[in-house]
Structure formats: C-alpha cells, structure tokens
C-alpha cells in the first residue's frame, strides 16, 4: 500500500517542537508530472545508449522509482539526542 501521510516533526532544545502531516499524494502528483515531462528525453537517451547497455537501465528507472515510493509506507525514522529530536514517519 502506498503511503498516504508523511509525519515530520523536529524539536530543538529551547524551542517548541515543529511538526506537520503532509499528504504524500501531492508528492505523487508532482513527481508524476515531472516523470511524464522528462519521459521523451529519457526515451531518447535510452535509444542512444541502448547498444552500450545503459539504455535498458534508463527505462527501468521509472518502475524502480515507483516501486520505491510505493513501499515507503511503514518507514519510520526517529532520532533523539540531548538537544534535537527528529521524526520522519510514512503512514
């Protein structure tokens, strides 16, 4: 299941914690627009470099990137030291 929300929180000593929930779907939309806009250039680069090998890999970038983004759900990173706290959580 692809992630729906990104929970980000940061706290520094002496300051209030700053955090927000961000709808990941917005990242998906922006990224999709970027990938579609770059697709002609990627296809052209792939055709040019096809014989040398990198061409095939270039075409695989798109499904690989989608796969990585799709499986971000559940990623949880939390660090805390004497002065700072950072939380990144994909839900």
């Amino acid at each position: 299941m692809f992630p729906l929300l990104l929970h980000f929180k940061i706290r520094q000593s002496g300051h209030r914690a700053f955090g927000f929930y961000f709808p990941v779907i917005l990242i998906w939309i922006i990224l999709a627009a970027l990938l579609i806009a770059l697709l002609p250039f990627v296809v052209l680069a792939s055709l040019i470099t096809w014989r040398r090998g990198p061409g095939r890999m270039l075409l695989l970038v798109y499904p690989m990137m989608v796969s990585v983004l799709w499986h971000l759900s559940g990623l949880h990173i939390e660090t805390k030291d004497a002065e700072n706290e950072v939380l990144i959580d994909f839900q």
Partner: protein, 138 residues
C-alpha cells in the same frame, strides 16, 4: 526472543506486573505470533528491519535512534545498485572486501537479502560499553 516478550519480562523483573499478568501477556503474544505471515515453505516472512540504538547504563543522555524500514523498500532499493558506475562498483567491492565482506552490490538478489535477513534474527551489539545497538527483523 522478540521485542514485545522482552518488554514483558522487563516489566516482571521491575515488579510492575505480577507473574500471572506476565503469563497472560506472554500467552497473548504467542497467540498473535501464530498469525505471523509465512511463505509456502513455512518460512517466516519478515516485514520490517529494525535498528535501535539506546544509550547504555553509563550514558543515559546519549543518542537514541529508532529506525524501521519495510523489507519491500529494501528490496526495491537494491535494484538501484545496478546504477552504480562500474568503476565505483569496483571500489565499493574492494572496500567491502577489506572489511571482510565479499559482496558484489550489483549482483545482490532478493534471495541473498532473504538469506541475510533470516540469519540476522536478533543481533545486539554493545559499542564501547556505552550505547547498545540492536538490529532485528519483525
């Protein structure tokens, strides 16, 4: 022993729960673990790789780290290793070999990852007698 069972035993050792309560909790955990996902061969399928760093007894105000990475994300990310330039791959391979790891990043397969994870189980390392690093799968 998994994280939840360890916590129950810690609570019992601290006297915060009775033996009967600990027994009930452990039974409940056993029941829930019976619902763990296994593949066709009966091998348990791990969902997350966890890394926890906790300060040791001598450094209560040390760094704390809690990381949970979905295994599917690791498998998806391994495919990007193929994009590492050949020259860099050689350097990385040489650096890993110097550390005693004979791993070719470009040739790591999902099966290699499964084998590594299945042998990982639960690993706890104490660093310099201060921080405790625990790496396990759940």
């Amino acid at each position: 022993m998994n994280e939840e069972k360890r916590k129950v035993l810690d609570l019992l050792a601290q006297g915060k729960i009775t033996v009967e309560e600990a027994g009930k909790l452990l039974s409940a955990l056993d029941d829930s673990s019976a619902e763990t996902v296994t593949d066709a061969g009966g091998k348990r399928i791990w969902k997350y790789l966890r890394v926890q760093v906790e300060p040791g007894p001598g450094s209560e105000h040390g760094d704390k780290v809690n990381i949970r990475v979905p295994m599917k994300l690791i498998r998806a990310g391994l495919k990007f290793a193929a994009f590492i330039p050949q020259q860099a791959q050689g350097q990385v391979k040489e650096a890993l070999r110097e550390k005693g790891l004979n791993i070719d990043l470009a040739k790591i397969t999902p099966q290699d990852l499964e084998d590594l994870v299945s042998n990982l189980d639960d690993m706890t390392v104490e660093v310099d007698g201060r921080d405790k690093v625990r790496i396990f799968c759940e």
